[in-house]
């Protein structure tokens, strides 16, 4: 039986895992390679490394970090943040990533999705979408707007329409972050996730708002998510992938339990 995936996400700045609320008040949370290995051993189904370093020098550090993290990692490994061209993607793949996650670059130039997919396969292209409900609309969820720059800049695109275009251009998966839920620890935006998941045939990874095990159950059932991203709940040993999955399994969610 195909299981629901739990994906551990590491936010990385200057080669270190950091944790902060919406990228403010960053706290050092360790070495990416060590953290990724620990999550994989504890049963995380995939690792996402999101680089939040915006500088040019940071790119070199990132490739080194990707290389070190990939070396001993034998589960799918996605790298996102600052990938603006096929060349950027190629370097990240050569360093050992299996997938790249692209967000604002895909919105600026949707043909980038096709270009990366042509060279590396659709399964290697994750399109990340940051969306916020439109409270002024009669259908705030379906009309949710797509934002870039951490939710600061609107793009004029609506979430369902953009997700469908990304799929049509050959995206392999959608990583959907609810800007409303992100950082709240009050639960995923299940309505938003379900609307997007039902609009496309490719897997949708839900992100933003995880705080309890029940939140994961909800996003897999009501939210129709294929996978869920867990970031903050894993840090500082608050909860491990193992304990999260054991609790999900007892709640009847199909998950892969670590040996």
């Amino acid at each position: 039986m195909l299981t629901k995936r739990i994906i551990a996400c590491l936010d990385v700045h200057d080669g270190r895992v950091v944790k902060g609320v919406q990228f403010i008040d960053l706290v050092d949370a360790g070495d990416p390679a060590t953290q990724a290995g620990r999550h994989a051993r504890e049963g995380a189904d995939e690792i996402v490394l999101l680089d939040i370093t915006a500088t040019h020098e940071g790119r070199k550090t990132l490739l080194d970090t990707v290389r070190r993290t990939a070396r001993e990692l034998f589960v799918p490994f996605t790298v996102g943040g600052g990938i603006r061209s096929s060349r950027d993607a190629e370097q990240v793949f050569e360093a050992g990533a299996d997938k790249v996650s692209i967000n604002s670059a895909a919105l600026a130039d949707p043909a980038l999705i096709e270009a990366i997919g042509r060279s590396f396969g659709a399964q290697a292209v994750v399109v990340a979408i940051d969306a916020r409900r439109d409270p002024t609309s009669s259908d705030p969820v379906r009309d949710a707007h797509v934002f870039v720059q951490g939710g600061r800049k609107p793009t004029g695109r609506k979430v369902v329409e953009w997700a469908r275009e990304a799929e049509a251009r050959g995206a392999g998966e959608i990583l959907l972050t609810s800007m409303d839920a992100d950082g709240t620890r009050a639960g995923f935006d299940c309505e938003l996730t379900a609307v997007v998941s039902e609009a496309v045939k490719i897997p949708v990874i839900a992100s933003g708002g995880a705080g309890t095990v029940t939140h994961f159950c909800d996003v897999f059932s009501r939210g129709k998510a294929d996978a869920a991203l867990a970031a903050s709940i894993f840090h500082f040993g608050v909860s491990s992938a193992r304990s999260l999955k054991e609790q999900l399994a007892s709640a009847g969610v199909p998950v892969r339990l670590p040996c």
């Binding site: 195909l2 189904d45 990939a70 001993e72 589960v75 050992g96 060279s119 396969g121 294929d226 892969r256």
Partner: protein, 206 residues
Amino acid sequence: MRVTVIDYKAGNLTSVIKALHHLGAEIEVTDGNLHPIDRAERIVLPGVGHFSATQRLDATGMTPAIRAAIARGVPFLGICVGMQWLYAGSAEAPGQPGLGHFGGQCTRFSEGSEKVPHVGWNSLETRTNSRLLAGVEQGEYVYFTHSYKAPVSEATAAASHYIEPFAAAVERGNVMGTQFHPEKSGETGLKILRNFLAWDTKRSSC
């Protein structure tokens, strides 16, 4: 031992090479030079991408070289599209023949309410006394990402179920394939690659 990895420009070889290297293999990559295939001790044909990319195997003359290596008893492992290539062909690229070592065509998952591609960790139903899957328990999970799949047949070493049953691993003599990615399937995947590297050609019946 030395593993010849075939590069037919269908995606990224880094992960496969890294996993084999981790297990102590010495890697030689060829993207058309036949010499590494002619002297191969083991061959791995990876693949993430479109079946049509296997056209390059024919264009470079690697197909007959691989066929000859298989006939010599060289252990061969095809991964994902690399496994599908062992069959007669695929509906993904109807004009492009596969090696035809196993009978049948690869077909796309039926459209319906389930999502296609099939992406994620699914369980194995091991079916035969497979050497490739030695030590793999019923129900162990491995990582898949694909829209096309091979039919279940006598040569199926493990099946998986998504929408319908399909061949997750195939094995006959020294020729093996996995639809899943052993290099991305954690400890279970490493165990399978280790079995491939430990393959004793003297025991091979081909």
